[in-house]
């Protein structure tokens, strides 16, 4: 009898092994991730219920028929469900597993159902008790789990004895299955927990390594690409990534060319050369990660047939609008596998670098804005003109104090107009007032060397144009034109109706012919800007034109809409 019982112990332990193998396989899936901690949230509890109910049923399924009852390992699922999910999950798992057992019938069906529910509840109650005492750590102790399973099984035996009738049948069942089930369930439950613990330890190690790499790369590349997305900075970043990930090679590209390459194959993957890899082009075109493992997706180097690189991962770098601005590529040589860690890490690095490049661009834009603000201020203050004007007035005070007072008035009119916001539109009369204030001072300054002729019919006085359109052009005509003449300079400012209906042409002409049309000149308040502002305001048929004959004349013509009188 005893030998028969021992045989059953061994047989049931074999079944337990099968059970555990299935558990081990499942532990490789994400399904197990929520089971590795004490579950609090509903989705986790649900997973917990589903998984352990399945194991509960599996426990019954793998059981051994002994007479009319089943020597089983159902308790493992019920107890673990309770321990990890709490009383509610324990109860639910026990109920599901119990119901399944009940459906199989036999003399002990009712007892087994009740006891399975009790087992789940027991696990749940211990879960609650330990949580209340703040001893969560004990929950994951395989020894404790084994003891709980042992107690649960003992409870089951008692319930069978108490519920099953006739008592003789109950006793016979308990007598034959008690030892195998007590042994298999406690060992099985303990080992199941051990399995969960190992899995958790491995994941932690994996994510620790991941975090360490990611943090080190983040720290070491900090600010590098912010200073500019160029070859020199990319090369530094590529080297750091290569050192930290240990991949075969690392490349960084922009949309057109290779910016940096380090590692295997650096002799023919030369920075500055255009992109030739089909995978990279695809990544840029489709804005997605392209992985050519060299196995399912073929990879051959597009540059050199004897390149030792055998697989590549291309990850796009994106700007704020998710547009591709380049790629980062990780390679492994032939015969080496791409570590999954590096694939995930690669995507993280791409995000990090994208962010850095973006920050850099924003900073550069800010700097540019500040620069153009300074430029505008400079144009408003116009220091060269100001000091020359002061010098002129200084001289006139000695010669003709009344005229000097007039010039001071002109100077203040000029600066008052200069300090207006340039986005406003003004009437031609306003603009002429600005020009006149300016010209009065220049006329005093250059004396006999400058003659100005203004012929603007009064009917055009109310035509509107962007502020600062005319004065800078007159100023250019003197500054870059007549002031460079050894002889006398002439400026003509006149207006006429355009050939096209409802247009007005305003001409500014000098007799120097010294400055060729340079619309793109970086001069802050230059002609290019005047042209753009008129076009932006009135449309592309209006704007600024330059007629020029070397040493004879430069004539700037503004074409304005006449109809804007009432605008």
């Amino acid at each position: 009898m005893l030998s028969q019982q021992l045989l059953l112990v061994i047989q049931l332990l074999q079944q337990t092994c099968v059970f555990l193998v299935i558990a081990w396989l499942l532990s490789k899936t994400p399904l197990f991730t929520p089971l590795m901690q004490v579950t609090i949230r509903l989705p986790h509890k649900l997973t917990c219920y589903v998984v352990f109910s399945a194991f509960c049923i599996l426990g019954t399924f793998l059981g051994l028929k002994v007479g009319e009852s089943i020597a089983n390992i159902r308790a493992i699922g019920a107890v673990l469900g309770g321990l990890l999910g709490g009383p509610s999950v324990g109860l639910a798992v026990g109920f599901t597993g119990g119901l399944h057992r009940y459906s199989l019938g036999g003399p002990t069906d009712l007892a087994c159902m009740i006891s399975t529910i009790t087992e789940g509840l027991l696990g749940g109650l211990i879960h609650r008790a330990l949580i209340r005492r703040g001893r969560v750590d004990l929950l994951f102790q395989p020894m404790l789990v084994g003891v709980v399973a042992l107690a649960a099984e003992m409870l089951q035996m008692l319930i069978i004895l108490a519920v099953t009738r006739p008592y003789a049948t109950a006793f016979a069942v308990v007598d034959s299955v008690a030892l195998p089930m007590l042994t298999a369930n406690s060992i099985g439950a303990a080992m199941f927990m051990r399995l969960l613990l190992d899995r958790r330890a491995m994941l932690e190690k994996y994510s620790n390594a991941f975090s360490a790499h990611a943090l080190r790369i983040a720290a070491r590349t900090e600010g590098l690409l912010r200073a500019g997305f160029n070859e020199a900075n990319s090369q530094k970043v590529a080297r750091i990534i290569s050192e930290e990930t240990g991949v075969g090679a690392v490349a960084i590209t922009d949309r057109e060319k290779l910016l940096a390459f380090t590692g295997t194959g650096a002799d023919h993957h030369l920075p500055g050369t255009p992109i030739t890899s089909e995978h990279t082009m695809q990544a840029i075109r489709d804005n997605r990660v392209v992985y050519a493992d060299g196995n399912e997706v073929a990879y051959t180097c597009s540059i050199h047939s004897e390149c030792r690189l055998g697989s590549t991962l291309v990850i796009p770098l994106q700007d704020a609008d998710d547009q591709v601005i380049g790629t980062i590529k990780l390679y492994e040589p032939k015969g080496r596998l791409f570590a999954r860690l590096n694939r995930t890490l690669g995507e993280g690095i791409a995000k990090l670098l994208s962010r850095q490049i973006l920050t850099g661009r924003i900073e550069a834009q800010k700097a540019l804005l500040t620069q153009s603000e300074i430029k505008l201020l400079h144009a408003q203050v116009n220091p060269h003109f100001l000091f020359n004007a002061l010098n002129t007035i200084n001289a006139v005070i000695r010669l003709d104090p009344d005229r000097a007072r007039g010039l001071v008035q002109n100077l203040s009119t000029f600066f008052r107009k200069n300090l207006k916001r340039p986005e406003e539109t003004v009437t031609l009369a306003d603009e002429i007032e600005h020009v006149n204030a300016y010209l009065q001072i220049e006329l005093a300054r250059f004396g006999e060397r400058l003659k100005v002729e203004v012929d603007l019919p009064y009917i055009y006085a109310q035509v509107r144009l962007p502020a600062f359109s005319l004065q800078p052009i007159v100023e250019n005509a003197i500054k870059h034109g007549t002031s460079h003449l050894l002889g006398s300079g002439h400026i003509r400012l006149f207006a006429e109706a355009g050939k096209k209906a409802d247009t007005l042409l305003v001409h500014v002409e000098d007799n120097a012919g010294l400055y060729p049309p340079r619309k793109t000149a970086g001069d802050g308040m230059g002609m290019g800007l005047v042209d753009r502002r008129i076009k932006a305001r009135f449309g592309s048929e209006y704007g600024l034109e330059v007629a020029f004959e070397a040493e004879r004349y430069t004539r700037i013509t503004l074409t304005l809409p006449l109809g804007s009188v009432d605008a």
Binding site: F387, L390, N391, T392, N394, A444, R445, H484, L486
Partner: protein, 245 residues
């Protein structure tokens, strides 16, 4: 002390004149309204000091300095209304300069300093090294006087230069002669023109042929067919600079 005023703005000159006239020890020899007039006045009047505006038509004050013969350089006091770049250079090399509008006090200090230097060092005072100034690059345009007018002759229009008793003449590719205030020495130093004779310079790109003669010298035939003598003394250095040596 004799002073020349150079500024293209008449009011600026009159103001400076009014300030300088308060100093009894100073005589104003003349005024010039541009760099070419100034060069002429410097050569004729030989002033001790030139008050020189920087911003002037065609040839700036800084360029004018580069056209003057370092051996006959008067003392220069630069005058400017606003030129950060030049002022930085003046500060750096301790050149005299005045900011417009000129204050009487500052002008007084400058004059005091000028008197001190000329008194201690006398005629032997070494002129400051004006080649340290910005804008001292090679000359591209050569100012000269035509009939009744001032002309800026592009360097590449010059075939040769001839020195006569009456002055220095630029000979252009059409064979026309233009009087210039520039000295042979300045032309030799500040342009690619090469010395071929004590009295002649030649533009290397205009040489068509060099004909050696019996006396050990040679004659250059220019592209336009003119002949320029090469003396024995300058033949070898000329051939060397042409890469024929």
């Amino acid at each position: 002390m004799r002073a020349l005023l150079v500024d293209d703005e008449p009011l600026a000159r009159s103001e400076l004149r009014a300030l300088l006239e308060e100093d009894a020890t100073l005589t104003i020899t003349g005024e010039a309204g541009n760099a070419i007039e100034a060069m002429q006045a410097i050569n004729q009047q030989r002033p001790d000091v030139v008050f020189l505006d920087i911003q002037m038509p065609r040839i700036s004050g800084l360029e004018l300095v580069s056209m003057l013969d370092p051996g006959q350089m008067p003392h220069i006091v630069f005058v400017t209304a606003f030129d950060e770049h030049a002022v930085r250079a003046f500060e750096e090399h301790a050149f005299d300069y005045l900011l417009k509008p000129v204050s009487a006090e500052r002008l007084g200090k400058t004059l005091a300093r000028l008197r001190k230097t000329s008194a201690t060092a006398g005629e032997a005072a070494a002129p400051p090294d004006y080649s340290l100034l910005p804008g001292q690059r090679a000359l591209r345009q050569l100012p000269c006087h035509g009939h009744n007018r001032i002309l800026l002759l592009p360097l590449d229009a010059v075939e040769s230069v001839t020195a006569r008793l009456s002055g220095i003449y630029l000979v252009d590719t059409a064979g026309q002669e233009h009087f210039t205030e520039l000295t042979l020495k300045t032309l030799e130093e500040k342009t690619p023109l090469l010395r071929c004779h004590r009295q002649h310079l030649i533009h290397p790109d205009q040489i068509a042929e060099i004909r050696l003669n019996d006396s050990g010298g040679a004659d250059i035939i220019t592209r336009s067919g003119q002949s320029v003598p090469v003396s024995r003394r300058y033949l070898k250095p000329l051939k060397e600079s042409l890469g024929l040596g």
